[in-house]
C-alpha cells in the first residue's frame, strides 16, 4: 500500500482557499515543535529543580501557550500596536501586489528589498538637498522620484534578461546587496546629517516632507496607496487585455507566443510595476515611520512580500489579508523576544515555515492523494 499524488480532473476551488488556512495550521504545529525544543534546550535537565525532562516538556507547552498569545493576540489588543501593525503591513502589501503580477507572469523578481532601498534613496534626494522645501508638491515629487528609482533599479535585471537572457532571479538578488551597500555608503557618507553628532542618518524630514497621518492616529496616508494599488492591480488582472496576457504567458508561454503576446515586454512590464511599488514602499518608509534616510530602511519587507504574494494566492486582495498576517509576525517576533527571551529570528522561522507549507498545500489544488493498494507483486512496478 502506498499513497500517491493523482492529478485532479479540474482545479479545486475549495482547496485554493483552504490551502493557506491549512498551511497556517501546520505552521502553528511546527511552531509548537520549535518552541518546545527551544525550551528543552535551555533547561538543564540534570538539575532536579527543573523537574527533569517532563517538567521541561510541560514548561515548553506553557511557553507555547504564551508564545501564541504574544505572537497573535497581544499585538491586536492595544491601539498603538494596531497602528504599528498597519505601519508594517503597508510596505509589505505594496511590494507584494507588484510581486504577485510578476509571479503570475512567471517572471521572478526577488530583489524587491533592493528596489525598496533605491526608492528610499531617490525619494530622499529632494528633502536632503532642499531641506527648506515644504510646498504642496514636495511630497508628491518625493513619491514619484521614489517610484522612478525603484522602477529604474528593477529595469536592470529585466533588461539583462531580455537582452542577454541572464537569469533574473540571480541578478535581481545580487542587486539587493549592491543597493543596500550603496544606501549604507550614502547614510554614513555624503548624505549624513552634518549636525547629527556623527550618527549615520540623514537629516530628519519634517513638515511637508513627511506623509500626513489619518484621523488622529499614527496611521499614514500610505495605507490609502495600498488600497489604490490593490484595486488597480485587481482591475488590471480582471478587466484588461494586459492582465489576460500576464495570465496566459504565465501559465502557457507557448500559447501566449502563438497568440502574439511578447514575453519580453511582459518581463519588462511586470518588473517595472513591481519595482515602482517597491520604490514607493521605500520612500513611504523614509517619509513615514522612519522619518529620515538610515543605513537600512527595511527589515526584510522585500523578502516577506514574496511570502505574502504566495499566501495571498497571487491576488492583490489576498495580498492585503496575507500582508496583515505577516506584519503580525514581525510584532509577534518582537513580543516573543520580550516575553520569552527568544531570538528575534523567530519571525523569519515562522515566515519561512509558512511559505513552505503554503507551497506544499497548494499542490492539493491540482492534485489529490490516493491510497493505492499494490498487489502482492514486487513493489515499484509500473501499473497500467
Amino acid at each position: 500500500m502506498r499513497v500517491e499524488l493523482v492529478r485532479r480532473g479540474e482545479r479545486s476551488a475549495a482547496m485554493a482557499y483552504l490551502s493557506p488556512l491549512l498551511a497556517l495550521l501546520l505552521t502553528l504545529i511546527g511552531g509548537a515543535l520549535i518552541v518546545i525544543v527551544w525550551r528543552l534546550s535551555t533547561v538543564d535537565l540534570s538539575n532536579p529543580a527543573s523537574g527533569g525532562f517532563f517538567g521541561a516538556l510541560q514548561q515548553g507547552f506553557v511557553d507555547y501557550g504564551r508564545f501564541l498569545y504574544v505572537f497573535f493576540i497581544e499585538p491586536l489588543t492595544e491601539l498603538w500596536s494596531l497602528e504599528e501593525l498597519v505601519a508594517k503591513a503597508t510596505p509589505i502589501i505594496l511590494v507584494a501586489i507588484g510581486l504577485s503580477l510578476c509571479y503570475l507572469s512567471n517572471t521572478w523578481n526577488i530583489g524587491a528589498e533592493g528596489q525598496i532601498a533605491v526608492g528610499a534613496i531617490t525619494g530622499s534626494f529632494l528633502p536632503i538637498f532642499f531641506p527648506d522645501w515644504h510646498g504642496p508638491f514636495m511630497l508628491p515629487a518625493m513619491l514619484v522620484l521614489g517610484m522612478l528609482g525603484g522602477m529604474a533599479y528593477a529595469a536592470i535585471p529585466a533588461l539583462l534578461k531580455i537582452r542577454f537572457g541572464t537569469n533574473e532571479i540571480l541578478t535581481s538578488l545580487m542587486l539587493v546587496y549592491v543597493a543596500q551597500l550603496f544606501l549604507d555608503y550614502l547614510a554614513r557618507g555624503p548624505w549624513r546629517n552634518p549636525e547629527g553628532h556623527n550618527f549615520p542618518d540623514s537629516r530628519a524630514f519634517d513638515g511637508g516632507q513627511v506623509l500626513p497621518t489619518l484621523f488622529d492616529t499614527n496611521i499614514r496616508i500610505s495605507l490609502i496607496f495600498v488600497f489604490i494599488a490593490a484595486f488597480a492591480a485587481w482591475f488590471l488582472m480582471r478587466w484588461t487585455k494586459m492582465g489576460f496576457q500576464i495570465k496566459v504567458l504565465g501559465q502557457a508561454p507557448r500559447a501566449g507566443a502563438f497568440a502574439g503576446f511578447s514575453q519580453n515586454r511582459m518581463v519588462l512590464l511586470t518588473f517595472l510595476i513591481s519595482g515602482a511599488l517597491a520604490g514607493l514602499a521605500g520612500i513611504c518608509e523614509v517619509a513615514g515611520p522612519v522619518g529620515q534616510l538610515r543605513t537600512s530602511v527595511s527589515p526584510g519587507y522585500g523578502f516577506t512580500a514574496i511570502i505574502v504574494a504566495f499566501l495571498g494566492r497571487l491576488n492583490p486582495i489576498g495580498a492585503i489579508f496575507a500582508g496583515f498576517l505577516l506584519a503580525l509576525s514581525y510584532l509577534g517576533g518582537e513580543g516573543a523576544q520580550i516575553a520569552l527571551g527568544m531570538s528575534d529570528q523567530t519571525t523569519r522561522v515562522f515566515q519561512g515555515m509558512l511559505l513552505f507549507f503554503v507551497l506544499a498545500c497548494d499542490s492539493f489544488i491540482f492534485y489529490r492523494l490516493q491510497i493505492v493498494r499494490t498487489p502482492t507483486l514486487q513493489t515499484g512496478t509500473v501499473t497500467s
Partner: protein, 307 residues
C-alpha cells in the same frame, strides 16, 4: 618578503574559494538532475550553525563537520519532500528554504554569538609541501582537500559512470528516463540530498575554518554566488572550480584593497563580488550556445509520473 605576502594572499584566496566550491559543486549535481534548489544560502547557514554548535559542545571538529553535513541534508530533504513529492514550485520553495534556514540558524545560533571557536589546523603533505612554488597547494586544511576530491569525484561520476549518465538523463528528459524505468523522483531526491550535504560542508567551512565563530547571516550571500557559479561554469565541474577561485580572488582582493585604503569607499569594494556576479552572468548568458549546450533541459520542471 613579497613572496611570503603573495603566498599569504594565494592561501586566503583558496580558503575563500573553498566554501563556494563546496556549495556550487553540490548545486551542480542537484541541477544536473533537473532540480533548481535556490535554498543553498539557507542550507549553508544551517550547516554553519550546526557545525559550530556540535564542534563547540563536543570539542571535536570532525563531529562538527558531520553535523553540518547532516543539517544540510535535513534541510535539503525538506525541500525534496515539498518539491518532488508535493510537486511545489521549485523557485518559491527554494526561497522558502533560504528564509527558513537563515531564520532557524539565527534562532539556534543565538546561544553561540561571541563564543570563540576552534579553527581547523592545516595539514602538510610530506614531501610535496616543501616544493618551491606549488608547495603551498599541499599545506591546506583537510576540508579544502575534500572539496577538490569531491569536485574530481563528481566530474568522474557525471561523465564516466553509469549512475551519472542516469542522473543526467533524468535532468535532461524526465519523461524519457521514466519510460526507461528509472525512478525520476528517487534519483532527484538523492541529488538534492547530495546538494544539501555539500552546502552543509560549505557552511561548516565558514564557521569552523574561514572565520572560526558564529555570527548571524555569516553566509553573506555566498549561497547565491554559488548558484551563479553553476551558471558561470555552464554546469561543468572544472569550470565551476575555476569560477570559485575567481570569486574567492575577487572577495579577497577587495578585502586587501579595503585594508590598504585605496580611496574608494569600503561599501563599493564590498559590493564588488555581487557586481562581479552580475557582470559574469551577463557575459556567460550572452553566449547562448555555450550555456544551452550543458543546461539540463528539464531544469526546474516538476515531474509527476503518469500512472
Amino acid at each position: 618578503m613579497t613572496g611570503l605576502m603573495l603566498e599569504g594572499i594565494l592561501l586566503t584566496i583558496i580558503t575563500a574559494a573553498t566554501p563556494l566550491l563546496f556549495a556550487s559543486i553540490g548545486e551542480l549535481v542537484t541541477e544536473r538532475s533537473g532540480v533548481l534548489n535556490l535554498g543553498v544560502e539557507g542550507m549553508m547557514a544551517m550547516g554553519a550553525v550546526i557545525g559550530f554548535a556540535v564542534a563547540h559542545s563536543t570539542g571535536n571538529i570532525a563531529l562538527g563537520v558531520v553535523g553540518a553535513i547532516l543539517a544540510g541534508m535535513a534541510m535539503a530533504a525538506l525541500f525534496g519532500v515539498v518539491t518532488l513529492i508535493f510537486v511545489a514550485n521549485q523557485v518559491a520553495s527554494g526561497l522558502a528554504l533560504t528564509l527558513f534556514g537563515l531564520g532557524l540558524s539565527g534562532l539556534i545560533g543565538d546561544a553561540f554569538v561571541g563564543v570563540p571557536g576552534a579553527g581547523l589546523a592545516r595539514v602538510s603533505i610530506p614531501g610535496l609541501s616543501d616544493l618551491p612554488v606549488v608547495g603551498l597547494l599541499f599545506r591546506l586544511d583537510p576540508l579544502t582537500y575534500l572539496a577538490v576530491a569531491i569536485t574530481i569525484a563528481v566530474s568522474w561520476f557525471l561523465f564516466r559512470m553509469r549512475g551519472g549518465l542516469v542522473l543526467r538523463a533524468v535532468g535532461d528528459s524526465h519523461v524519457s528516463a521514466h519510460a526507461l524505468g528509472y525512478s525520476v523522483i528517487r534519483v532527484r531526491f538523492m541529488a538534492v540530498l547530495f546538494g544539501g550535504a555539500c552546502s552543509g560542508l560549505a557552511g561548516a567551512y565558514l564557521s569552523l575554518v574561514y572565520t572560526p565563530q558564529w555570527t548571524q547571516a555569516m553566509t553573506a550571500g555566498r549561497g547565491w554566488i554559488a548558484l551563479a557559479l553553476v551558471v558561470f561554469g555552464t554546469w561543468l565541474p572544472g569550470r565551476v572550480a575555476i569560477g570559485a577561485l575567481l570569486f574567492g580572488g575577487v572577495s579577497i582582493l577587495q578585502l586587501h584593497a579595503q585594508a590598504l585604503g585605496v580611496g574608494v569607499p569600503s561599501q563599493f569594494l564590498s559590493a564588488l563580488p555581487y557586481l562581479t556576479t552580475v557582470i559574469v552572468l551577463v557575459i556567460i548568458s550572452r553566449n547562448r550556445a555555450l550555456v544551452r549546450a550543458n543546461t539540463p533541459a528539464a531544469l526546474g520542471q516538476s515531474f509527476v509520473p503518469d500512472r
